[in-house]
Amino acid sequence: MNDSFDLQSLSKLTAEPVNSMAQKAQDAGKHLIAYTCRFLPEPIISTNRLVPIFLRPNQYISTPMADTYLSSVTCSYSRCLMETALDFSLENLDGWVFVSSCDHLRRVHDNLVHSIKPAFIHMLDLPHKQEESHIKWYANELEFLSKKLEKHFEIDMGNTSIESSISDYNNFQAMLRDISILRKQTIPLISGYHFHLLLMASLCSPKHLLFDFVKELCAALPENDRDETKKPRLMVIGSRIEDSEYIKKIESMGAYVVADRFCCGSIPGLNDVELGESDNVFEALSRHSFNNTSCPRMMDEFDLRMKIIREAMEEYKVDAVIVETMKFCDIWGVESVPLIHELKQMNIPVLRLEKEYASTGMGQMETRLQAFLESL
């Protein structure tokens, strides 16, 4: 992609946990609601004067204060998050919404309640299965959250408001999808790095302020100068890859990252919220949460996760896979074993990389990547 297309502004937006656009929105009377898991459907915290801020505390490499509370054996995302909060870098947030996604994040919630005592903090009880009864359970949870938000922030969280928020969300998702498919071309029209940067910026910025930028980007990209070199096409699978430099490093070794099957990636992740005729708005959001994520914390879905990976590999013409696991993440640590086994059974070249949340140890990773890419 042509760097002249104001790419620098995206980098700036992803450099801080609470960026300048978020500050601008807050100055204009919006309430910044922090969240940490993609199972939370964004429209519910985009309604009315609420602005969702996905927290990416990857500016911290050492976490001495957080280690005191969380110990050094919890994942580095949790510790970075706690460190950021204890360092008063998140003071200007108006609220926090957690999802009972994993042990480590649940304990961050407990420790925040104990140490920071935010004025608004809520834990959503997310089931580990996705049959009808579980979808209904989560819908009730979302409804309860909306009432709590309504009361605390004195805003209207009625159906009409939430539906309007869903409509805005869907419009934004559609633009991201249009850009995402450009990676399917033989020579991708957008690099994995730039696409990742865009996704991260859109998660941590108020979407209404980013909308025009993304719209222009959509129009400009097909005309973009492209790198015509033929390179291996990679899919990256894993947990929290929220530092675009990580993707940039992989691509700098001579590959395209064409498919992103991780927490904040697009496979899945760019679906619309579908308001079915029989659904109430919360059931639609609940259903969307399950359809828009593919996380090993869901107990019965290993085969479904494999199916999503197989289909994406075909669609994006993937040559090889990198499975990333974050150190101390129990869920991905175990999941990666049967996952890699199945990929190998399919004769797909796989490289497993363990990393900390913030991109450290890049030199070591470079050596392993080089060897892997040479073997393809």
Partner: protein, 468 residues
């Protein structure tokens, strides 16, 4: 396994020891004879862990060698009961293979009993073998790590996965698991199921489970489980049998509550393994068994007699302790040692301490309702799921109720869930002026922290904090 020194014993003590020692060997021998000795010898090759289980009677020496009188007898009953249960579980592999259901440790097997199925707790070997043969379990931990399971995952699921990967897990008809007690344990079942190629049903326990909505939700999960088991196994629900299992459980719990009441006395007439082994065994692993009720009744009678005679379990009770987190599997006689060295009486532990209601057996619905509460709100289940309040409220209740001098936290390095509470734990204990010993170790892997180092940690704490 470490053994404490054997002090001089009275004739009665020698008789008690010999009686239970011979009874235990008779049970182990019966297992071999019943299933054909030649066949069982071949099984030692198929399941090498059987060699370790055959050492079960060594627990008798470990837990009763230095204890005397009625307290020795109570601990002998606890060990004998454990040996009987081990024998029955192994026997079930051979005599009810077609009905064998692998279940996760925090999914109690009442429903399986009610359906005429044979439970095999998946984590059973991972819990029992380190007690008997620490190094043997480390082989399975290595097997899991060699397959790619990260070393930082809890060593209990690693042991269980290692057994499955080594083809040493009995092949079940079906698997029943859940999202308890932790993410490592929950996700391990993906690998176990793939390896064992058996159908699996997983129960989903909500985050907040102390409310009517959660109870109804989980009753729904249990109904789906029963239906699923009827479709995938030869089991059929027999509600009369189910009712009897639950009533037997209730009888056992009522006796246990009486023991707990007596343990509040100063000095306590009961402590140590006689408190926690039957609790773990019949409260979690094998509830609803007459054997459990009988063992509990015998221990209660001993506790009553000791109380009436103004005898304390630990001869010179100086410190009253609760143990939090599962007991130190790689150092099972920690409290035998601590009793002797410091006069420490361990009165309650996390895995024994239930706040379960008795099960109302007046209707099928009520039975399921009671079971739903027992499973969701069970020990460890409620401490590792849900908000931190679940973890702390029990500890500080026990502090008051048992007039505790200090808490010993078995700080298993692989239990990230509880490690992430240690900062808060320290602050809360400091606020209450309650000494907290955090034992750094690994539950099943003695290579991380050997028992000698655990002793050193205790010594340092007792000397510097308790001024012992």
């Amino acid at each position: 396994m470490t053994h404490q020194q054997n002090p001089l014993q009275s004739i009665n003590d020698v008789h008690t020891h010999f009686r239970y020692w011979s009874e235990n060997w008779a049970k182990i021998g019966w297992l071999g004879l019943k299933n054909n000795p030649v066949f069982m010898l071949k099984q030692l090759k198929k399941y090498p862990w059987l060699n370790s289980l055959m050492k079960a009677n060594e627990l008798l020496n470990m837990y009763t060698g230095t204890r005397k009188g009625l307290y020795k007898k109570a601990n002998s009953i606890a060990v004998s009961s454990l040996v009987s249960s081990i024998v029955d579980m192994v026997d079930g592999i051979y005599n009810h293979a077609d009905k064998l259901i692998l279940h996760e440790d925090l999914v109690p097997p009442e429903i399986l009993y009610g359906m005429g199925l044979q439970p095999w707790m998946a984590e059973f070997l991972g819990i029992v073998i380190p007690f008997l043969d620490t190094e043997v379990m480390e082989r399975y931990i290595d097997r899991a790590e060699n397959e790619g399971i990260p070393a930082d995952i809890c060593s209990l699921p690693k042991s269980t996965m290692g057994l499955a990967l080594s083809n040493e897990m009995p092949k079940p008809r079906a698997i029943v698991a859940s999202n308890m007690p932790c993410d490592g344990g929950m996700t391990s079942y993906t690998l176990i199921q793939k390896k064992l190629q058996a159908p699996i049903f997983r129960l989903d326990i909500p985050y907040n489970f102390y409310n009517e909505k959660a109870i109804q939700y989980f009753v729904g999960e249990l109904r789906k489980l029963i239906k699923w088991l009827e479709e995938h196994t030869p089991g059929k629900m027999d509600w009369d049998r189910m009712k009897e299992i639950c009533e037997e459980r209730n009888r056992m719990v009522e006796l246990q509550l009486e023991i707990w009441e007596l343990a509040k006395m100063k000095p306590s007439p009961m402590a140590g393994e006689a408190m926690y082994l039957p609790g773990m065994l019949y409260g979690i692993a094998l509830p609803g068994q007459k054997r459990g009720t009988n063992a509990m009744k015998k221990i209660l009678n001993i506790a009553k007699k000791m109380y009436e005679d103004n005898q304390s379990a630990v001869p010179d009770e100086k410190y009253r302790v609760i143990l939090w987190n599962p007991p130190t599997l790689i150092f099972p006689d920690l409290f035998v040692w601590a009793e002797q060295k410091y006069g420490v009486a361990m009165l309650m532990d996390m895995l024994s301490f239930n706040r379960h209601p008795l099960i109302d057996t007046s209707s099928h619905d009520n039975i399921l309702r009671g079971l739903a509460q027992i499973i969701m709100q069970g020990p460890m289940a409620r401490h590792t799921r849900g908000p931190a309040e679940n973890f702390f409220s029990d500890i500080f209740y026990l502090h008051e109720a048992y007039d505790i001098d200090m808490i010993w936290m078995a700080g298993h390095i692989g239990c990230k869930n509880t490690q992430a509470l240690m900062g808060m734990f320290r602050e809360k204990c400091r606020d209450r002026n309650l000494p907290l010993l955090n034992i750094n170790y690994d539950l099943s892997d003695s290579r991380i922290v050997p028992p000698a180092n655990i002793k050193k940690q205790v010594d340092e704490f007792m000397e510097t904090v308790m001024q012992a």
